[in-house]
């Protein structure tokens, strides 16, 4: 079982403090700026296209369990569903994990209600396909070929099935927006989809779409946290380059100490 080291404790507590402070500031009404994210701007365009073409929207929340990544994916798909509900439009969301079924049903029912059309929500549009990776991929590919969705939203944890789903959707001419924290699958999505959310843009999506103060504050907190980490990395690189064992000693990292010793020797230090 892994446990936190003292530097990890301090860094995680500081980052958590920053994020919570930013959330509280935003909830108190502080004005916040968000940069433009093309993939998220395209959501309304994709939904509008599906409505005009009279073809459904297909979503996937990937292969993950009920974890943070999957819940974030579901939150994004729910935002899309709220937009689709305004036009009384269908979203088909095939599921891979049985535990996702009740949560996804509740989330989409709430989204359709928020969009003013609870009557359009149909539980049968959220079929549980299979717990097996490629059986799920085959099922989604089959749904894509039969339903011919005009837009697909692929968010969550994906593995090799990412390309099977995305390429099938490409074959039927769907506009595709994807996002995943699985870094190994990002290149496949970039190759196959129209818009891809990379890295933490995935976590920015709900804030960007809904503009809820809590989510916006969380996003700003994340950015401050990243800047803090970036500053630490730059400081660490400079210190190690000048042969200081300070960082190596703090983290108890033997590799860093070796680097520092190498640079000390190279620059004639002790």
């Amino acid at each position: 079982m892994k446990h936190a080291t003292w530097p990890a404790r301090i860094i995680l507590l500081v980052l958590s403090g920053i994020i919570l402070y930013a959330i509280l500031s935003a909830r108190r009404g502080k004005k916040l700026y968000l940069r433009r994210i093309p993939g998220l701007n395209a959501i309304e365009e994709a939904v509008g296209r599906a409505v005009e073409m009279g073809r459904p929207i297909l979503g996937s929340i990937g292969l993950g369990d009920v974890d943070v990544i999957t819940l974030q994916a579901l939150a994004i798909i729910s935002s899309v569903a709220t937009t689709a509900a305004r036009f009384a439009h269908r979203i088909v969301l095939p599921l891979r994990n049985a535990a996702q079924v009740p949560i996804a049903e509740e989330a989409l029912r709430a989204a359709y209600t928020a969009g003013g059309r609870p009557d359009v929500f149909n539980e049968q549009d959220l079929p549980f396909l299979s717990g097996e990776q490629f059986a799920y991929a085959a099922g989604v590919a089959g749904i894509i070929q039969r339903e011919r969705p005009a837009a697909t939203f692929l968010f969550g944890t994906f593995y090799a099935e990412a390309l099977i789903i995305a390429e099938n959707a490409n074959q039927v001419g769907a506009i595709q927006i994807a996002g995943t924290p699985s870094t190994t699958q990002v290149p496949f999505f970039i190759a196959a989809c129209d818009y891809v959310l990379i890295g933490d843009e995935y976590y920015a999506a709900t804030a960007y779409i809904t503009r809820q103060p809590t989510l916006l504050g969380s996003l700003i907190g994340q950015d401050i946290g990243k800047m803090l980490l970036l500053g630490m990395i730059i400081l660490g690189v400079v210190l190690v380059t000048f042969g200081s064992p300070f960082i190596a000693n703090i983290f108890g990292d033997k590799d860093l100490e070796t680097f520092a010793a190498y640079f000390r020797a190279a620059t004639g230090g002790k």
């Binding site: 446990h3 599921l95 049968q124 390429e167 196959a192 994340q222």
Partner: protein, 269 residues
């Protein structure tokens, strides 16, 4: 406390199963009587306690020596508490199966379009489930053989077939991605070509005549390929992972403290 989580046998096992069933039903009944606003507070409270347990276990200092080396006072309970997730997942499997059978059962009953696929799916579920359960009670070679035919002879080749399709999709996706229409696509193509050539022996022969020492070694294709992978690709991936890590922390905090709004709560708590 430890004895409570030790696997039980015989009558004691059945007593625990029936006890858990009765307690579970009682909790469900109590929850159904709870007003909606209180239910939200209850869910937020349980979520907080669950998250607090794992956070405390991770952050609490561990013993450095003795029988508890590398552990703290909560470590022993990680496994039983984690089992709760497994048990909830088992309940959810039933829901998933119900969803699947109801959708495809109705499709067959009402002779909807493509109802034949639904019939095949329901038949396949039965054909796989019956021998898989049966072989647990009947150890005869016929049942085991039938299960092997279904699993090793049916399921595994189908799985491998789906996986093999990825190869063809990679080609079609790569073809579209590598069409040089932008500077980014050009850079992508150049790096992909260098890495592909650098990874195969035949490609490496192209620059084998360049001495593999001093400055000139930088121009050998395998070194260029390695440089792109370790000095460009890896840092970029690590940078993405760092952003994802901070994003995961923020989302986890929002869920843990029930600050999330919309999909999971009607309004901010």
């Amino acid at each position: 406390m430890g004895g409570f989580f030790v696997p039980k046998q015989g009558a004691e096992l059945w007593a625990y199963i029936i006890g858990a069933f009765v307690v579970g039903l009682g909790i469900l009944y109590a929850l159904s009587l709870t007003p909606k606003s209180l239910r939200k507070t209850l869910i937020a409270g349980i979520t907080f306690l669950g998250g607090l347990f794992f956070a405390l276990e991770f952050f609490w200092p561990v013993d450095t020596a003795g029988p508890m080396a590398g552990k703290n006072f909560l470590t022993a309970y990680i496994k039983p508490v984690s089992s709760v997730t497994t048990i909830l997942g088992a309940f959810a499997l039933g829901l998933g199966l119900y969803s699947m059978v109801s959708i495809h059962g109705r499709a067959v009953a009402k002779r909807r379009e493509n109802w034949g696929f639904s019939a095949v799916l329901l038949g396949a579920i039965l054909a796989m489930a019956i021998p898989a359960i049966w072989k647990e009670y009947d150890k005869s070679p016929q049942i085991a053989g039938f299960y092997r035919i279904m699993y090793d002879g049916g399921f595994n080749p189908l799985n491998a077939t789906m996986f093999s399709i990825v190869a063809f999709y990679i080609v079609s996706a790569a073809y579209r991605a590598f069409r040089i229409r932008t500077v980014e696509a050009g850079i992508l193509l150049m790096s992909a070509v260098i890495i592909m050539i650098g990874q195969v022996t035949l490609g490496q022969l192209l620059t084998a005549w360049i001495p593999n020492e001093n400055f000139s070694s930088n121009f050998r294709v395998e070194n260029l390929s390695n440089w792109i992978l370790t000095r460009v690709n890896s840092p970029a991936q690590l940078a993405i992972s760092l952003g994802i890590g901070v994003g995961t922390l923020a989302t986890a905090l929002r869920l843990w403290l029930s600050l999330e709004r919309g999909a999971f709560f009607d309004e901010e708590l």
